[in-house]
Symmetry: C2
Subunit: 215 residues, 2 copies
DNA sequence: CGTTCGATTGATACCTGTCAACAAGAGTGG
DNA sequence: CCACTCTTGTTGACAGGTATCAATCGAACG
């Protein structure tokens, strides 16, 4: 898939879910007057449209930010797999649950953090997720994000986003390189954001759940 | 459970999930400096802690707003039930998916709507959900919400929340009655909020998913 | 070579947060 | 029963954050 193509879940009669193999995408909602809120950024390893298999209409849009490679699966395949392996069902549920935790944090970011905190926090989250997904440490510091995208993700105007971004640059925390955001000082960013990665960590299943699953 | 008791998921060694039978609760996160973001309001019929069965640490707090009656179930019971009835597993997943749609909309509300729109939109959502859960039309217009709660849910200061609330009262859209929010003019609220209920509607499962499940 | 999009800047208005203060009611403990 | 405290609701003044408007510039694109 190419950047800019609109990959709206609602239109596809033949419903599928996807896992992103390579590239970035965004999931967003539009208001009638054009205001846009980006709900989350989708990177390799992320699940797309899993829950939308349960609804006949989609309420949001997914759009590639870069050339995108995805794996897809149908509801039939999913249920067949679940019957053979409850572990797989739990694994997919885990991914969905993880995504919901990120939504929770996105809510805190927008609702209760100040502009610079918001931006720094988002950068740290993406960095963490890229590393978790297996990106090399250097690659995990480069984001293909424009200021309008940041604005719509952080719930600010693009102009204020620009000023906030400049502030982070001036403080030496980030920089711009060929249209890409580059993290320069993750420690300082983390401190500024009050970033606590615990909501992103992948521990083992709790013992009771593990035992119940094994039976 | 009584109001004010803290019902933190993290502390309970014996992990369970819950369905609210009666009463209201909130799910929220706190920042270190005391800022609080309410992620959602929980009303009868809502699922609590379902996904947290998959994690060993909780990242948010759940707290009753009113006297609360809940049903609980353990991971073992859940998995046993799923083995007997895939339909039940899908039903629970549907509830979780529905909750995520509400999170999406909460993000749009906070990120891209103005103060009065935010408040009106939240009121409409809760009204819709109460009706969907079987509340009588009159009861579905009365919310046990205080201004500090609204503030932390809408991502605004409690003072500005007060001003915004006064504005809705002045316009005759809502009123205060014995500490409760009362909806007076749902049509006007809906119009002001730009409320579109499609994200809350419960249609049938899409055909491919239904067929895959039936096999 | 127009056109579009992103980055950038300055001026201005306004929305929103903060500070300070007080009233009223609920609950608490003496 | 009376302080006393805590929460909620309320108001005004004020500062500051943020949005909006207007405009320029460069790069990418067709």
């Amino acid at each position: 898939m190419e950047r800019g193509e609109r990959w709206i879940n609602e239109d596809s009669e033949f419903r599928k879910a996807y896992v992103i193999a390579d590239g970035w995408a965004i999931r967003y909602k539009l208001l009638e007057d054009g205001r846009r809120q980006i709900l989350n950024f989708l990177i390799p390893g992320d699940l797309v449209g899993y829950f939308s298999l349960l609804f006949s209409t989609s309420i949001c849009t997914v759009e590639p930010l870069t050339p995108l490679v995805v794996h897809s699966f149908t509801p039939e395949k999913a249920f067949d797999a679940f019957r053979q392996s409850p572990q797989l069902a739990v694994a997919l549920s885990w991914l969905a649950a993880q995504a919901e935790r990120q939504l929770d944090e996105q809510l805190v970011r927008i609702g209760r953090r100040k502009a610079t905190e918001r931006m720094a926090h988002l950068f740290m989250e993406i960095n963490y997720r890229l590393l978790r997904a297996g990106a090399p440490p250097q690659a995990a510091k480069h984001f293909p994000l424009t200021q309008p995208l940041l604005a719509d993700a952080l719930g600010m105007s693009h102009i204020h986003t620009h000023r906030t971004f400049r502030e982070l640059i001036r403080a030496g925390l980030v920089s711009l390189d060929a249209g890409k955001v580059v993290l320069r000082d993750r420690n300082a960013l983390s401190r500024l954001a009050g970033f606590d990665s615990s909501y992103l960590e992948q521990g083992p299943l709790p013992a009771p759940t593990r035992e119940a699953l094994a039976r």
